[in-house]
Symmetry: C2
């Protein structure tokens, strides 16, 4: 396990497994404080997921896989001499502990799975990762040591595969970014939401690594301000020129001629290319179209849901009014005010210039083209 050192320098340490512990960058403290938390128990990790210290679908999946690995690390350590057994980059240490039975390993895994599954019950990637880890364990040989190794390899593989996907998205999309461009993005589709490199921001990072110099504009993204808190922080970490704006200032910025491309992530893309993403995305797409500015969506192939025919079929989650009626301890609207607070909106495929995925780019997306790439 462990990828090349160059690549490691490019990623945000969102979630990782280091010397027998899960490490997460605590996103509840960003942007004011940059704190890496070493997490030594499944309970602690479940708590971190629950309080959004780690968030974003791919990042939650990886954290869950590492949570299951952590349960095994702790089982082994109870019998060992205090050293660690697993580390993503350094690999797997010697496991010579005859006292540990395969049954004990499976029992720990099962407990960990139950605890982690209760953290964010609607997070699809969480269950995908827990299921994948469970399947690997079920298919593993009966020997306890071999079983532990399978578990570790599966967790690291989940992380590495996600990273690989994100690097591919970056490679596939960077051709749309040119020197001197102004690029607008919305919400946080970056390393903090993923394995460490991002989706929409992966495209921006890759273009930057290729030596292109351009300006990024980040919508603050009400109500939870992921753009202001996370995207700006990430881009600054990468040394990329970034300017923050209120969501409602995007039209004025686009009208001023300073934006040459809009690029966003996606929560779900259906058969015909209609795309669900953070609230605010579809308005941006309409305004980009009015000014003939290309509008790109960047997402892993796993975001496609070809069971749905069009965006009209995507259920839209309405979130709590308190996200809009107050900030911190300040009430910003009269008590009891009615609120319209959908978590995301649907951008029609016809407003999307291209969807950038790890499998390739779909220009002017439609059902036929998506079916072709689905293979």
């Amino acid at each position: 396990v462990g990828d090349n050192a160059e690549r490691e320098k490019l990623i945000i340490p969102t979630v990782d497994f280091v010397e027998g512990a899960v490490r997460i960058l605590d996103q509840t403290l960003l942007p004011a404080d940059e704190v890496i938390r070493e997490i030594g128990s499944v309970g602690e990790l479940a708590d971190a997921i629950r309080r959004l210290a780690v968030r974003g679908a791919p990042a939650i999946g990886i954290a869950a896989a590492y949570g299951m690995l952590l349960s095994i690390e702790n089982l082994l350590r109870e019998q060992g001499d205090g050293g660690w057994f697993f580390d993503r980059k350094k690999g797997i240490a010697d496991i010579s502990l005859p006292e540990v039975s395969a049954g004990a390993v499976r029992s720990r895994l099962s407990e960990a799975r139950t605890e982690l599954a209760e953290t964010r019950p609607t997070a699809v990637n969480l269950f995908w990762a827990l299921d994948r880890m469970t399947a690997a364990a079920n298919e593993a040989p009966g020997d306890a040591v071999d079983l532990c190794r399978v578990i570790a390899r599966e967790a690291f593989a989940i992380h590495e595969e996600e990273l690989e996907i994100e690097f591919r998205i970056g490679e596939n999309g960077s051709r749309f970014i040119h020197d001197g461009m102004g690029v607008l993005t919305h919400c946080n589709a970056g390393g903090l939401a993923t394995a460490g490199y991002g989706t929409a921001l992966a495209v921006i990072y890759r273009a930057h690594e290729e030596g292109k110099r351009f300006s990024v504009f980040a919508d603050e993204t009400r109500p939870l301000l992921q753009g202001a808190r996370l995207t700006v922080w990430e881009l600054q970490k990468h040394g990329i020129d970034v300017t923050l704006l209120c969501d409602n200032a995007a039209a004025s910025l686009i009208a001023s001629g300073r934006i040459d491309a809009v690029i966003v992530g996606a929560d779900r893309i259906v058969s015909n290319g209609d795309t669900a993403n953070k609230i605010g995305t579809c308005g941006l797409a309409h305004i980009a179209r009015a000014f003939d500015v290309p509008f790109y969506v960047a997402a892993p192939w796993s975001t496609f849901d070809t069971t749905l025919a069009s965006g009209a079929e995507i259920p839209v989650e309405e979130r709590d009014p308190s996200e809009v009626t107050g900030f911190s301890h300040v009430e910003t609207a009269p008590r009891g005010t009615e609120v319209y607070n959908p978590a995301f909106d649907i951008t029609p495929a016809e407003l999307i210039t291209a969807i950038i995925t790890d499998r390739g780019v779909i220009e002017q997306p439609n059902s036929r083209k998506i079916k072709v790439l689905s293979g």
Copy 2:
């Protein structure tokens, strides 16, 4: 002085002159607390304007006029028996004070003017009102008592004329609002920004008074949240159904089919109908157009600036980055982040279905039609 009682019930007590004192509704405490402040000195009033306890161009103009009247009230009271001399609704009390000279009155007016002029140096209505009060005093007869009466009448006239304009806007615009409609508004173009009835909200209030029943949706209006803090509060006061949303949710709401009209105020309208208004307005206009939803601007005739040919000539004020990078005492973006924070944007005339003014309605506004109404 004093208009009919029915009308008085319809207005927000934004600013008034009551029994020898200026009264303002302290907008810094809304929506949590509704506090009417009695202001007894020009210094206190200047302070209230400076800290935005009273804000909005027409409201500031009226407050300034009342500030000059307050300086005279206090001069007379220094010689009197403790009673008040001026009240907008009750009228002017007997002024029989031979000790007060016209020179002393003019000297007080001049001091008050200087102090008030320093509060919001870029506020056009502030200077318009101070100049009008000064001109009235200059043209007044030499007798001290007559001079005081002229001053009072001019201040009350400024307030009443503004109110009359706002009621006319409401009357002229209410025909665009029908039973069962969904109406979207942005920022606060209501009684809190004006003499008490509003511009865009005057149209809504008038339609409601005519017995029409409809739903209003209010953009929160980042960064200063005038929609959440003020518009929602005002509409609730008037008993109108209102739902709050983040600015970036407007496109999703319009796409859902729930909005039949958008109505906003204006900061400046130029010869060809291009309109400067709160940041976020032009994006809303583009989205309304994409969904064929009518887009109305409501503003007093004084908002027109026919010295400029098109919106491109309107200077756009950039405001402080701290409005976007933090809230209350919480930093929401990394320290030192670059920010794009224009106070308003320009909506091209071709996106405006009609401009509703006190002089009449200009449908599909253009230079010719605006010139005709300029008469």
